[in-house]
C-alpha cells in the first residue's frame, strides 16, 4: 500500500464517521438543523456539489487528452482521472441529494422531468456521465482502447454540457443580477477544467506508483504548463467579467462584489480564493520549483482547494443582497435572514461525503488491479491478446 494511502485512510475513515453523525441528524431530524433559510436557500452543500461535479469534469479532461486525443504523457494521470472523476461526481450528487427537502422523491427527477427545466436536463446528463465513467472503468479493466476512445469522446461532450450547464443553472436566474450573465457557463467550464486538472496533478504526485522516469517527467511538464495556461485563462475571464459588470454600476451587482471583498466572508475571497487558489500556486508553477513533482503537486492541491472557496463564494454571495432592501426586516425570523454560516450538521455531512469520496478513490487505486498495477496489467492484457490472436 502506498504511504499516502496508509496516512490518509485512517483520516478519511474518521471523516466518514463524523459524516455519519451528520447524515443521521439529517435523516432523522430533517432540515431543522440546517442553517439555511428562505432568503439563502442554498449553502455549503450546494457550493460543494457545484465544485465536486466541476472537478469531476476537469479530471475527465485529463483522461480525454490521453484516450481521445492521444496525448501520451497523460497515460498515467488519465488512468487515475477516471476513478477520481467518478468519486467526486458521486460526492457532489450525494451532497445535493441530502440538500433536497424530500430526498425520498429524488426518483421523480427521472419520471417527472420537466423539459423546460435546466436542472431536469442536468440530472439526465449526470446519469449518462456516471454511466460513461463506469463503462470506462470496465474498458480500462479490459484494456479496450477503442472503447476507451469513444467513451472519452462521449464523456467529454457530456462534461462540456454539464460543465457549462452548471453555470447556466445560475446564469438563467434573472432574479439574481450577480449571477444573471451569459458568461457564467464559460466561467464555470474554465474553472472546472482548471480545478479538475489541478486535483489530478495533486493525486498523481501523492499516489505515484511509478518511477520518476522520462514519461513521468513529460507528464509533469505537460501538467505544469496546462495548469499555467488554464490559470491565465481563468484570470482573464474573471477580470473581464468583474471589470465589465462593475463598470455598469448596477447597484445589486456592485453591492454584491463589495460584500464579496469586504463583507463577513472577506477572508474567503482574499485568502482562499486569491492567495491560496491563485497567487501562491501561480508563483509555484511559474518559478523553477514548479518543475519538481512535489511542488507541482502542492500547486495542484492549492488550486483545487482555492476553487472550492471560489464556488462557495459564488453560490453564497449571490443571495446576500435581498430582492427588496427591507424584505428581511418585514417578517423577522432566523429563516428569513440574509446571513448564513453552515451548521455543525452541514459541516459534518460535508466532511463525511468528501471523506467517503476520497476513500472510495484511494480504495479503488489500492484494490482494483487495473489501477493498482496498471503497468503490469496492461502488459499482461496485451500478452493475453497476442496469445489469443
Amino acid at each position: 500500500m502506498l504511504r499516502a494511502s496508509k496516512l490518509l485512510i485512517p483520516l478519511l475513515v474518521a471523516a466518514v464517521a463524523v459524516g455519519g453523525i451528520g447524515v443521521w441528524q439529517r435523516l432523522v431530524l430533517g432540515e431543522r438543523y440546517l442553517a439555511l433559510g428562505s432568503y439563502i436557500p442554498w449553502g455549503l452543500w450546494v457550493g460543494l456539489y457545484v465544485y465536486l461535479v466541476g472537478i469531476s469534469g476537469g479530471a475527465f479532461l485529463v483522461a480525454f487528452l490521453h484516450y481521445a486525443l492521444g496525448v501520451g504523457s497523460m497515460r498515467r494521470p488519465g488512468r487515475y482521472a477516471i476513478p477520481f472523476a467518478l468519486a467526486s461526481l458521486g460526492g457532489g450528487l450525494a451532497l445535493v441529494q441530502l440538500d433536497l427537502g424530500h430526498m425520498d422523491r429524488f426518483w421523480t427527477l427521472f419520471t417527472r422531468t420537466s423539459p423546460a427545466s435546466l436542472l431536469g436536463w442536468m440530472v439526465w446528463v449526470y446519469t449518462l456521465y456516471a454511466l460513461v465513467l463506469a463503462a470506462m472503468l470496465g474498458a480500462m479493466a479490459l484494456e479496450s482502447r477503442r472503447a476507451l476512445r469513444w467513451l472519452a469522446v462521449a464523456g467529454f461532450v457530456l462534461v462540456v454540457t454539464f460543465g457549462g450547464g452548471e453555470g447556466a443553472l445560475f446564469g438563467v436566474l434573472g432574479a439574481r443580477p450577480f449571477w444573471s450573465s451569459g458568461s457564467l457557463p464559460i466561467r464555470f467550464l474554465s474553472s472546472a477544467f482548471l480545478s479538475g486538472m489541478a486535483a489530478v496533478t495533486f493525486v498523481v504526485a501523492a499516489f505515484r506508483r511509478w518511477p520518476a522516469d522520462a514519461e513521468h517527467q513529460a507528464a509533469s511538464w505537460f501538467l505544469r504548463r496546462a495548469l499555467l495556461g488554464l490559470l491565465a485563462l481563468n484570470i482573464v475571464i474573471e477580470v473581464l467579467e468583474v471589470s465589465v459588470t462593475l463598470y455598469t454600476g448596477l447597484p445589486p451587482v456592485v453591492e454584491t462584489y463589495h460584500l464579496l471583498m469586504f463583507g463577513p466572508y472577506w477572508w474567503m475571497f482574499w485568502v482562499l480564493q486569491l492567495a491560496v487558489g491563485l497567487a501562491i500556486p501561480l508563483a509555484l508553477l511559474a518559478s523553477p520549483a514548479g518543475a519538481r513533482p512535489a511542488w507541482l503537486g502542492l500547486a495542484g492541491f492549492l488550486v483545487a482547494v482555492g476553487y472550492a472557496g471560489t464556488k462557495q463564494n459564488l453560490v453564497g454571495v449571490g443571495f446576500l443582497v435581498p430582492e427588496f432592501r427591507r424584505l428581511p426586516e418585514a417578517f423577522v425570523h432566523p429563516r428569513l435572514s440574509v446571513t448564513y454560516f453552515p451548521s455543525a450538521t452541514e459541516w459534518f455531512v460535508a466532511a463525511g461525503v468528501i471523506g467517503a469520496a476520497a476513500l472510495a478513490f484511494v480504495v479503488a487505486i489500492e484494490v482494483l488491479p487495473f489501477l493498482k498495477n496498471h503497468e503490469e496489467w496492461g502488459a499482461a492484457r496485451g500478452e493475453t491478446r497476442r496469445l489469443a490472436a
Binding site: G30, E31, R32, S38, L100, L118, L119, V172, F324, A330
Partner: protein, 292 residues
C-alpha cells in the same frame, strides 16, 4: 348635535345629506352660544327644513361586499376565463400587518414561512421623512420565472393564472425560491413554534386547507420540506370567499377580483393612472397591482 336640527323620525333613510348635516352641526353650537336662549327658542319653533332623502344604502357601498359578489360571479365562469388579480392601495395601507397575520392564521404557517410580509420603506431625511408600507404577496406572474425552473413540474400555472405548488410532487430543491425576483417563496424547514418546549401545542397540528386539501404537519411530511407561497387563498376562492388578507384589511387597502370581468372593481382599479407593478422590467407581468 344632530338632534337640534333633525326633525324626521329615525329611519334607515338619512333625512339630510351628510355634508349639510355636518355643516349645520358644526355651526349650531357656536351660533347658540353667541345669540343665546332667545335665538335657540326661535330656531326650535321654526318649521322643519325640507330635505331630499338619500337613496337607500347599496351593498356596493362596501367594497368587500362588492368584491365578494364579483368573486361569486366569476366562479360561474369556466376556470380558464377567470383571471384572478389583486390591487393594493399604498395610500391606504397603514402597515398594521393584519393581512400578514390573517394569512399566517388562515394557512397555519409554521415558523419562518410567510406569504405576505409588509415591507416598510422610509423616504426622505429628517425632518422630512415619510414611510410607506408595501404588502408583498406572491405576484402570480403571467410569466412566472419560478415555473420553468422546477425540475419535476411541481409548480405550474393554473388556467385562472394562479401559480400553484403540488406539495406532493415538490422535491424541495428550492430552485424556485432562487428564481423568484420578489422573494415570494419561502421554504418550510419542518419547524414548530413550540420546538424546544415540553410539549407541542395542538394548534400547531391543526390542518391547513391550502389547494383544497387538508394538510396536517408532522415536521416531515409535506408541506414540510417544500417551497411554499401565497396562492390567493384558492381554497377560500373556490368556496366563493375573498382571500383572508383582503377581508382582514382594516383600511380597505387590498382589492381582489376577476380581471377578465370589465364590471369588476379590480378591472376598474387596474386601469387607473397611478397603477404600478413591481420589477416590471423583468417581464414577469405580475397580477398584483399597486396604487400609488
Amino acid at each position: 348635535m344632530g338632534s337640534t336640527t333633525t326633525t324626521a323620525p329615525m329611519s334607515r333613510e338619512r333625512p339630510w345629506p351628510r355634508r349639510q348635516l355636518l355643516k349645520a352641526g358644526l355651526a349650531a353650537p357656536g351660533m347658540a352660544a353667541l345669540l343665546g336662549e332667545e335665538v335657540r327658542a326661535a330656531a326650535a319653533a321654526a318649521p322643519a327644513t325640507e330635505v331630499v332623502p338619500l337613496p337607500p344604502p347599496r351593498d356596493d357601498d362596501n367594497p368587500l361586499l362588492r368584491m365578494q359578489r364579483e368573486v361569486q360571479r366569476a366562479l360561474r365562469k369556466p376556470i380558464h376565463e377567470r383571471r384572478w388579480a389583486m390591487a393594493i392601495d399604498l395610500q391606504k395601507c397603514i402597515g398594521c400587518s393584519a393581512c400578514t397575520i390573517a394569512c399566517v392564521v388562515e394557512n397555519k404557517l409554521p415558523p419562518g414561512v410567510v406569504y405576505r410580509p409588509v415591507i416598510e420603506e422610509e423616504i426622505g431625511e429628517y425632518p422630512h421623512v415619510s414611510r410607506t408600507f408595501v404588502p408583498r404577496p406572491c405576484m402570480q406572474c403571467e410569466n412566472p420565472p419560478c415555473v420553468p425552473v422546477c425540475p419535476v413540474r411541481a409548480t405550474y400555472q393554473r388556467p385562472d393564472g394562479v401559480v400553484e405548488i403540488d406539495y406532493e410532487a415538490c422535491i424541495g430543491c428550492r430552485y424556485c425560491i432562487a428564481a423568484c425576483p420578489y422573494g415570494a417563496r419561502t421554504a418550510d424547514f419542518g419547524e414548530f413554534y413550540t420546538d424546544g418546549t415540553p410539549a407541542r401545542q395542538a394548534y400547531e397540528s391543526q390542518p391547513s386547507h391550502e389547494y383544497g386539501r387538508s394538510w396536517s404537519r408532522d415536521g416531515k411530511r409535506s408541506p414540510a420540506g417544500n417551497a411554499r407561497k401565497c396562492h390567493f387563498c384558492l381554497h377560500r376562492l373556490e368556496a366563493g370567499l375573498l382571500p383572508a388578507c383582503v377581508t382582514t384589511c382594516i383600511g380597505y387597502a387590498t382589492f381582489f377580483g376577476d380581471l377578465s370581468d370589465p364590471e369588476s372593481l379590480i378591472h376598474e382599479l387596474a386601469g387607473k393612472r397611478n397603477v404600478v407593478r413591481l420589477k416590471e422590467e423583468l417581464g414577469t407581468r405580475p397580477r398584483v397591482f399597486y396604487l400609488t
